[in-house]
């Protein structure tokens, strides 16, 4: 088995955004379950939060390849 330590580091770095995205959508789902009429507003907020957390993961893989 051969590999690159950068990728192990990226794997560790991806844990954070992974948990973050899980939390965001958990909050979104319970929000919609409590107040279905707020779906539209909640959805844009959820997508913004998802994008923000996802950006960290993607920055991570960019740095893992670049450095």
């Amino acid at each position: 088995m051969e590999g690159n330590v950068n990728m192990v580091g990226y794997g560790l770095a991806a844990i954070g955004p992974g948990i973050g995205i899980g939390l965001i959508f958990a909050a979104y789902i319970s929000g919609v379950a409590r107040q279905p009429e707020a779906r539209g507003v909640l959805q844009s907020i959820a997508i913004l939060g998802f994008a923000l957390a996802e950006a960290l993961a993607i920055i991570g893989i960019g740095l893992a390849f670049a450095l």
């Binding site: 279905p36 959805q43 844009s44 907020i45 997508i47 994008a51 923000l52 950006a55 960019g62």
Partner: protein
């Protein structure tokens, strides 16, 4: 954004949500990709690692701005 009919929680509204989520993902990926690549080329030319970092962050910022512009404004 998603339509304001609370009863319409299946079908078109849900499809729209899926498309928006993938769209946001694609925008951030391409932001980091494009400006990271440009930064990488500039870095190879100047022989330094700094432009890659600047490019990656700039691309992330641009991607996030576009996500906000497209999907985030109420």
């Amino acid at each position: 954004m998603a339509d304001d009919h609370p009863e319409d929680t299946t079908g078109a509204a849900r499809r729209k949500g899926e498309a928006d989520a993938w769209g946001a993902f694609g925008l951030i990926i391409s932001g980091v990709l494009v400006w990271g690549l440009i930064g990488g080329l500039v870095g190879a030319w100047l022989d330094s690692a700094l432009p890659v970092m600047v490019g990656l962050l700039l691309g992330m910022g641009g991607g996030l701005y576009l996500v906000w512009f497209r999907y985030g404004r109420a």
